[in-house]
């Protein structure tokens, strides 16, 4: 186990990593921007270092500032959380070159999976199902039209270096494709520093289901189960659950095997997630992308397996060979992302939190990043907390989720808590028979 760790992140995930570090006797170092000085993760760490002003490019994305903080505090390891520098292969290389332990996968695996086109090609070669799509970047609108004729409409337009749903759009025909292509390219350039675009066949009534993998230090890759992440707005996840209500046993076995194969193909180590789209009717799946880091929704897997994935990350990064060999899934878990946004249109709502009372009780876990008195600023994502529940079965998990949402009080910024109450009351979500269009379809009825 490393003697100390610098957590190169903020908010709920920084706090969550610090919590496990403390339990394992690892000294923790937080880094923070001027906007975040008052947040709980800064106070929770054994030491904290101010690394810059609020804009991410000048603080959490500033590799020099983060590495300087590691030197200054004598931290022996770096945990990147998710987002920011977590999937930056060059940063991982610099951490390792500085003689520190990188609590993440090998930089080469980050690079191979970071480009969506290279990842698709690699997965196809490894025998993982992929949807019809681009094998090389699409340079211009004319090429996009030709490529879409080959793939077949509807198509999804994506940034090859992208993530988080940014710049993604679906096109039913040539006119939409031409318009979407230009938008996607300018966003790709701005957000990800690369204009490379790919097209993929779009599966309209799909479920988004991902497999949690764990690459052990001895090279074995385990699949720890799936998570259903079909509840999305603007292609971004809002709620997740495990097991997926749309995945039958034979499909689950095939998906877990494909997830492990994906990890083996890139020599994966540590925690990672392989995302798939599932056609529930046909019980078929295709590879979407791999996230080479701890996932936001990892707590649902922890709740049903009893594992602490951050502990696993630390042990594997330290070279412990055989940290886990078998997992048993018990019960059902749901995560609800509590965002600072209005519950109808999902528009951002920054502001100062005047009251915060979170639910507790059997099967309830809250990973929060804020507390009363903190200000939610416009500089970062709107995630305030993850409300997670565990039950003996899906019905009990749903009941616990409804009670927990009703008992969660946050005043100041508007939050999507009323949306979660609406979701949990809807026939669509309650029945389990839903796909990525669940938010639109439940609102059509109301």
């Amino acid at each position: 186990m490393p003697e100390s760790v610098l957590v190169a992140n903020r908010g709920e995930i920084a706090l969550r990593v610090i919590r496990t570090a403390r339990r394992l006797g690892i000294r923790s170092v937080a880094v923070y921007s001027e906007a975040d000085a008052g947040l709980p993760f800064v106070a929770a760490a054994d030491e904290s270092v101010l690394i810059g002003p609020a804009p991410p490019a000048r603080s959490y994305l500033d590799a020099d500032a983060v590495l300087a903080a590691a030197r200054q505090t004598g931290a022996r390891a770096v945990h990147p959380g998710y987002g920011f520098l977590a999937e930056n292969a060059a940063f991982a290389e610099r951490v390792i070159a500085a003689g520190l332990t990188w609590v993440g996968p090998p930089p080469a695996a980050i690079g191979q999976m970071g480009d969506k086109i290279s990842a698709r090609n690699l997965m196809e070669a490894a025998g993982v199902p992929v949807s019809p799509g681009s094998r090389v970047p699409v340079p211009d609108a004319a090429a996009a039209l030709a490529e879409a004729r080959r793939i077949g409409y509807p198509v999804m337009i994506k940034a090859a270096a992208g993530g988080g749903g940014i710049g993604m759009s679906a096109a039913d025909g040539p006119a939409q494709l031409e318009a979407g292509f230009e938008t996607a390219r300018s966003r790709a350039e701005r957000f990800f520093g690369s204009p490379a675009i790919l097209l993929e066949r779009f599966m309209p009534a799909a479920r988004h289901v991902e497999v949690q993998i764990l690459g052990r230090a001895d090279g074995a890759v385990l699949a720890l189960g799936e998570r259903d992440c079909s509840v999305q707005r603007r292609h971004q996840k809002v709620a997740e659950e495990t097991p997926s209500p749309g995945v039958r046993p034979a499909l689950r076995a095939a998906m877990l095997a494909a997830g492990a194969r994906a990890g083996e193909a890139v020599g994966y180590r540590g925690a990672g997630t392989v995302e798939f789209l599932v056609d529930e009717q046909a019980q078929e799946f295709v590879f979407l992308e791999m996230n080479t880091r701890l996932q936001v929704e990892h707590p649902v897997t922890e709740l049903v397996t009893g594992l602490d994935l951050v502990e696993q990350q630390f042990r594997i990064a330290d070279g412990e060979p055989d940290t886990v060999s078998e997992v048993t899934v018990t019960g059902h878990a749901i995560e609800l992302r509590i965002y600072a946004e209005d519950p109808k249109r999902f528009l951002p709502s920054p502001g100062t939190i005047t009251a915060w009372a979170q639910p507790s009780g059997p099967g309830v876990r809250v990973d929060a990043g804020y507390a009363a008195g903190n200000t939610v600023t416009p500089f970062y994502d709107p995630l305030l907390a993850k409300l997670c529940v565990h039950g003996a079965d899906r019905a009990q998990a749903l009941d616990r989720a409804r009670a927990a949402v009703a008992g969660f009080v946050i005043t100041g910024p508007r939050t999507n808590l009323p949306f979660h109450a609406e979701l949990l009351a809807s026939a669509e979500f309650s029945s389990g028979a839903y796909d990525t269009s669940v938010i639109e379809s439940m609102r059509r009825h109301t």
């Binding site: 988080g164 940014i166 528009l347 951002p348 920054p350 416009p378 970062y380 709107p382």
Partner: protein, 70 residues
């Protein structure tokens, strides 16, 4: 005359229109960014853009004046 004010705290990402432009109801004037989301600010009436009170890179507060259409 109509005043357009900010609905939330945000960063001004892009200024699309310029003072003196003729604008129509629904035209994008400015694109704000908050919490990793782009939010277009639209003209709420047709006319001449008499005043543009923000510049790219500004941080604006809820209620701040963005533009005046005459």
């Amino acid at each position: 005359m109509s005043e357009i004010r900010a609905e939330m705290v945000a960063n001004v990402w892009k200024v699309v229109a310029a003072e003196g432009d003729t604008v129509s109801d629904g035209d994008t004037l400015v694109i704000l960014e908050s919490m990793k989301m782009e939010i277009p600010v639209l003209a709420e009436s047709s006319g001449t853009l008499a005043r543009l009170a923000v510049a790219e890179g500004d941080v604006i507060q809820e209620g701040d004046l963005i533009a005046v259409i005459q």
